[in-house]
């Protein structure tokens, strides 16, 4: 069943003409003829859960916003930087008007007149396409004052980021949008009460907002019938890593994960097996080849000890070691930690150093216990979940692959004792910047 990806490859879908020919902006007309509360009710009825990672119900989040006439904002989070996730990119590139339409409907439902799209700076092509789409929509009277003759007005601004993973976190994103360093804020107050420029702010992911027109046109209750009872609708899944056909697939929530990894994406190359996989971006605890039959929805994933996250599956086959993936992962989070909270700033850095000790043959099995305790001390002790995002997968790797890591420690110690470690390159966290640091 295709909802978001229906006809996504039609040439020229990024233009208003083709989008309208396919029935685009009909949902907006329908919504504007309804009462705002009815529109919000339909979104609540659909029980759609946020597609950005947290999985919070959109209708509930929108209902937290105070009523009345005040400076309220909607921010669309298009800073898709979770490793393994690339669904919003395809959506924005091929069907930008779907997002614009969703934003107009959502702002109408909540009574917002100023909206921003925060897109990551690396998505230059997608930002250009969106900008063109916004201009086209404004010319056609679909944005601006008194949209389509109704009482609703909206100005929509596209804001380009400049490369920082932390700006995908909602409060870090708000600080970045205010022109500051993207440091997360203390919650509460939550953005729905005090967000951008201290006004109540609704923050939603691209995919969530792009689904809104479809919810309005098919009806909230009808949308809720798709998928499972607690995870309604369809989901774009980005699958990558060791599979034969990596890419974006639209699936109905609740189908077995095996179907996505093997039937759709072709599974690992012949003769190899799935060693472990991240079900929801690199921040989710890993699952092994034994968990392939877990249904792909929010609750089943939580029950299996992981999470659906942003819906990005990264498959690792048996030709790779756990250590190499863990080190890549830890280095990424150490680099991207903004440094505001000590457990995250220090915890990510020390995890990298401990993993490097394993590589260089200096570690003992006790280091794994220390590493596991560091992960425990990060989780829940920071303003945002960046530290947790490293601690959860690394913690799960230590639990699930302890034997392999111990063997790795032993092998590296033996190699070090025999003086055979020349091939191990010490990879520092600051390596990628090594070229930019001037030599004095």
């Amino acid at each position: 069943m295709k909802i978001l990806f229906d006809g996504i490859d039609e040439p020229g879908l990024n233009t208003l003409e083709v989008y309208r020919r396919r029935g685009g902006y009909d949902a907006l007309e329908k919504a504007l003829a309804m009462e705002p509360d009815e529109v919000l009710g339909a979104i609540s009825d659909s029980q759609i859960r946020g597609r950005g990672g947290a999985g919070f119900r959109m209708g509930q989040k929108a209902s937290f916003l105070p009523h009345g006439d005040m400076e309220k904002y909607l921010v669309c989070n298009a800073d898709e930087s979770e490793p393994g996730t690339f669904k919003d990119r395809e959506l924005m590139q091929k069907s930008p008007h779907m997002l614009v339409e969703g934003i107009v409907i959502a702002t109408f439902a909540v009574g917002i007149h100023k909206a921003f799209i925060y897109i990551r700076g690396e998505y230059a092509l997608q930002a250009d396409i969106l900008e063109a789409a916004i201009a086209e929509a404004a010319d056609a009277g679909l944005l601006g004052e008194r949209i389509l003759g109704s009482g609703h007005s909206l100005s929509l601004v596209l804001h380009r980021g400049a490369g920082a993973y932390i700006c995908g976190e909602e409060t870090g994103l708000l600080d970045s949008l205010e022109g500051k360093r993207g440091n997360p804020r203390l919650k509460p107050p939550f953005p729905a009460i005090e967000g951008l420029y201290h006004g109540p702010t609704l923050i939603n992911n691209v995919e969530t907002l792009a689904t809104v027109p479809h919810i309005i046109s098919m009806g909230g209750k009808e949308y809720a019938e798709i998928g499972t009872e607690t995870s309604t609708g369809t989901k774009l899944v980005s699958i990558s890593g060791d599979v034969q056909r990596p890419g974006n697939y639209e699936i109905e929530l609740g189908i077995p994960s095996r179907e996505i990894i093997y039937d759709l994406a072709g599974g690992p190359d012949e003769g190899r097996t799935v060693k472990f996989w991240f079900p929801g971006g690199s921040s989710s605890p890993v699952l092994t080849g034994d968990d392939l039959d877990v249904p792909y929805d929010f609750d089943s994933m939580a029950k299996a000890g992981s999470m659906l996250g942003s819906g990005a599956i990264i498959v690792v086959d048996d030709t790779h070691t756990v250590l190499e993936v863990a080190l890549k992962l830890a280095k990424f989070y150490a680099h991207e930690s903004c440094g505001k909270c000590v457990p995250c700033r220090e915890g990510t850095n020390w995890t990298v150093k401990m993993l490097q000790r394993i590589q260089s043959g200096e570690a003992t099995p006790m280091d794994l216990d220390i590493m596991a305790s560091v992960q425990d001390q990060i989780i829940g002790n920071c303003l945002c979940v960046l530290g947790d995002a490293m601690a959860m997968p690394i913690g799960s790797m230590i639990v699930k692959f302890r034997e392999e890591l111990e063997a790795e420690i032993e092998a590296a110690r033996e190699r070090a004792a025999a003086g055979q470690l020349e091939d191990v390159i010490p990879i520092g966290v600051a390596d990628e910047h090594a070229g930019q640091i001037p030599v004095h």
Partner: protein, 283 residues
């Protein structure tokens, strides 16, 4: 694997750019907001920054777009560039420096003109991004105009291993492509056109089911803005099963209603066998 250190960064007048490990000179008063009347700002840059400021309720929101624009003009966020932005935005240089040093795409040290960001995150490195990064680094050594950086997930794991060349996503890459990228950059032509992300189709086989009803592209559809179209005159079929029509071999786009562009319903949903992508080799 670490890139070779570059030469000492210097300002145009010869003095060294202050490094990360140099203490601030506390005997000097902090820099104040520069006076716009006495600071020389290129007219175009000033207009861009002022237009950006007008878009937001708070002018500070324009800090990132303004620094971006200044970086375009000066090549990097140099002290002069930051001073010019500070003057137009009525902010202190210290505030803007704090912003510029936070973001990976704003560079506070002189850099070569062309940016090649090689993604070295999990999905890409599983498929050989580290080898490609090394090859890219080697290839760029001869060319002072290429800034090769290992970058965190660029959001294109479907074409892993990939790189962003001046904002253009290309992939899947092999070490041999590194030399082509440098060559294309030097010649000023589109980089690795057959591997650009913008032309790729969706891999979801379900998309193909509805593809039969696609109309052929109108003559005025900008070819580069839609997936699956390919550059003018290009005959390469790109990955993805939803080929709705054949890419025309003639120069002119097909006339509407042309039946030769019908979708083949039983097209093989196989992305690997496209001519430009040899099957992945077993490691």
């Amino acid at each position: 694997m670490s890139p070779a250190p570059r030469a000492v960064a210097r300002f145009g007048h010869g003095s060294r750019v202050p490094g990360w490990d140099e203490a601030v000179d506390l005997t000097k008063p902090p820099a104040v907001v520069p006076d716009l009347a006495t600071t020389e700002v290129p007219d175009e840059l000033r207009a861009t920054i002022e237009a950006a400021m007008a878009k937001y309720p708070d002018r500070r929101s324009a800090a990132i777009p303004a620094l971006h624009a200044a970086q375009e003009v000066h090549g990097w966020c140099s002290p002069e560039a930051i001073e010019q932005v500070a003057a137009v935005m009525s902010l202190t240089p210290a505030y803007l420096t704090s912003v510029a040093t936070f973001y990976d795409m704003l560079e506070t040290h002189p850099k070569p003109r062309n940016d090649v960001y090689v993604c070295t995150n999990i999905s890409c490195s599983l498929l050989g991004a580290d080898e490609f990064f090394e090859a890219m680094h080697e290839a760029a050594l001869e060319d002072v105009d290429v800034n090769v950086r290992a970058f965190e997930c660029l959001g294109a794991c479907d074409i892993a291993p990939m790189a962003s060349v001046n904002g253009e996503y290309v992939g899947p890459l092999e070490p041999a492509d590194a030399a082509r990228i440098v060559e294309d950059l030097r010649a000023g032509r589109p980089v690795l056109e057959s591997k650009q992300l913008r032309y790729r189709r969706c891999v979801d086989p379900g998309v193909a089911e509805g593809a039969a009803e696609f109309s052929p592209p109108a003559a005025d559809v900008p070819r580069t803005d839609t997936a699956g179209l390919g550059p003018e005159g290009d005959t390469v079929d790109r990955a993805g099963p939803s080929a709705p029509y054949e890419v025309p071999t003639e120069e002119e786009p097909p006339a509407p209603g042309d039946t030769s562009h019908e979708h083949a319903p039983d097209a093989e949903p196989e992305s690997k066998d496209a001519p430009d992508q040899p099957p992945r080799e077993a490691k």
